[in-house]
């Protein structure tokens, strides 16, 4: 579904991603794990068009999307849940969701999807008129996910959904990721919480200082000594 071939991304002079290639197949949950500064978020931003790769190409379905503007990419079915949630805090929960459907024109479909999101996250239904800035961290993360789902993505990019959340909330969010995935949305998940991410993923890539150092099925990586030592606090 998504095929990234040898991309390089720079921040000014800093070479943030070096010759990255990866693949995401339809229906999978693929996770990218790695330490701070490895380039995980940079990779997601490049995929969703917020950053442009210097060279290499990104093939999505049948299209080239490297360097295309973000709105074209969102329209073609890739939706990004940004790191740190970034909800529109002076808008109500419902308005946030409506903005997620910004590029869509089918009123009835949007209404149905708002109900679908409320079904996934009943707490958001209770808070639908509340300003989203007043929600708790977990609720904001749910809202950010719901907002991304409103674009009806075929591929959902998630950047550290567990950041700063209580373990119980993290568990809940990961369950919902699985639910969303089982309903047909492919997920590319960036995580620091490698244990949690590997437990729900089909395949995984390990990123270290801008390079992919390891890849395989989630199970293989969970058992790999190298990953255990570096990320799982191996016992």
């Amino acid at each position: 579904m998504l095929k990234v071939n040898n991309i390089d991304v720079f921040y000014g002079n800093i070479h943030a991603l070096k010759d990255i290639s990866l693949e995401v197949n339809e229906g999978e949950i693929v996770t990218l794990i790695g330490a701070n500064g490895a380039g995980k978020s940079t990779l997601l931003k490049t995929l969703s068009g917020l950053l442009k790769p210097k060279n290499g190409n990104i093939l999505y379905l049948t299209q080239q999307i490297a360097g295309k503007p973000a709105q074209t990419i969102v329209k073609s079915g890739i939706s990004h849940v940004p790191e740190g949630r970034r909800v529109f805090s002076n808008m109500s929960v419902e308005e946030n969701l409506e903005l997620g459907a910004y590029l869509r024109n089918d009123r009835d479909g949007i209404k149905k999807d708002i109900d679908y999101v409320y079904e996934l996250f009943p707490i958001l239904d209770e808070r639908r008129k509340q300003l989203s800035g007043t929600l708790s961290g977990g609720e904001q993360q749910m809202l950010a996910m719901g907002r991304a789902l409103m674009a009806k993505p075929k591929l959902l990019l998630m950047d550290e959904p567990s950041m700063g959340l209580a373990p119980l909330v993290v568990k809940k969010i990961f369950e919902i990721i699985k639910t969303v995935n089982s309903q047909g949305t492919t997920v590319l998940l960036v995580e620091q919480n490698a244990n949690m991410a590997l437990s729900i993923a089909d395949r995984a890539y390990v990123l270290e200082t801008g390079k992919i150092v390891l890849s395989g099925t989630a199970k293989e990586l969970q058992e790999s000594e190298q990953v255990k030592a570096a990320y799982l606090g191996g016992l």
Partner: protein, 312 residues
């Protein structure tokens, strides 16, 4: 449904205000001095509301608004004085050219953020002022003589149109896009909103109405001089928006009315006027850091009683 109710409500209110004031003018209750203050008030409201769409709605910190006002003023003055066109045509010309100037400045500079954008717009306003200062065709530093043609009617119609257009824009799909840029630019980018496009659109609409205000201003004071449109004027406009509450159209309007009255009252001491302005700003920032109205509109205050404030 609700939106159109607010729309008609506003139109009726505007008609009533217009009828009352016009009646008082015809009846001789309001003399020229007060008429002049009213026109000044209208001009300031237009300026405040047109900057509100850039700073309050879209969140782009522009402090060069007087530059666009200058474009509107000079272009319309050229239209009436040199080309002999009528005032409505001149106002439209001034506004359109000013919008074009906004577009021209907006496309490169709106890629900047925060302080950098502020500096760029400030610099642009000064460039415009200095151009007019050095062009003899429009009188240079001595200024340009313009016949007094503005009436209360022109000014008021200008305000009504400005408020209607900007309020409707804000409540539209495009306006929501702009607000999402103010709230979080990265997130709105990720939602597929073309942020650069909306920033430029908001900026252009803002400059258009600043041009209208400039045109009406030019035909009210017999003379226009480049020094009128210096950066202090830009700050005056900025103060209306900040004092009223960033993001509140009614706040900007109320602040413009309030400060016009204050400065008319202080007209005999122009030096202390700026001191009082700064004092007012400091006091507001201390006690109401989000401005008089915050991001709320005056219409939501009425709903507050009925619906227990659950709807914002």
């Amino acid at each position: 449904m609700k939106k159109s109710k607010a729309f008609w409500g506003f139109l009726v209110l505007a008609l009533v205000i217009y009828a009352v004031v016009q009646g008082m003018i015809s009846g001789g209750i309001l003399d020229l001095y007060y008429q002049n203050i009213l026109i000044q008030m209208c001009i300031n409201i237009m300026l405040a509301v047109s900057l509100h769409i850039v700073i309050g709605v879209t969140g782009q910190f522009s402090i060069g608004h007087a530059g666009f006002m200058a474009v509107g003023a000079y272009i319309s003055a050229i239209a009436t004085m040199k080309l002999g066109l009528s005032l409505p045509v001149a106002i439209i010309m001034g506004a359109v050219i000013s919008a074009l100037a906004g577009l021209l400045v907006g496309i490169p500079s709106l890629r900047l953020k925060g302080d950098y954008l502020a500096i760029a717009t400030l610099g642009f306003a000064e460039i415009i002022r200095i151009i007019f200062l050095n062009v003899d065709y429009v009188g240079g530093a001595a200024g340009m003589v313009v016949t007094n043609m503005t009436t209360w009617t022109y000014a008021f119609v200008g305000v009504v149109i400005t408020i209607l257009v900007i309020a409707n824009f804000t409540n539209s799909r495009h306006g929501r896009g702009c607000i999402s840029i103010r709230e979080d630019e990265i997130a709105s980018d990720a939602m597929g909103i073309n942020t650069t496009y909306y920033k430029v659109v908001a900026f252009t609409i803002g400059s258009f109405f600043a041009g209208v205000a400039g045109a009406i201003y030019a035909h009210n004071f017999f003379i226009i001089q480049p020094t009128t449109f210096n950066f202090l004027k830009s700050f005056d406009i900025l103060i209306y928006v900040v004092l009223g509450g960033l993001g509140s159209l009614s706040g900007a309007t109320i602040a413009a009315i309030f400060l016009t009255i204050v400065s008319a009252y202080l007209a005999n001491f122009p030096e202390t006027r700026m001191i009082i302005y700064s004092l007012v700003l400091i006091i507001v920032m201390l006690y109401r850091p989000t401005g008089l109205m915050g991001t709320k509109e005056i219409t939501s205050l009425f709903k507050f009683g009925k619906k227990g404030g659950s709807k914002v």
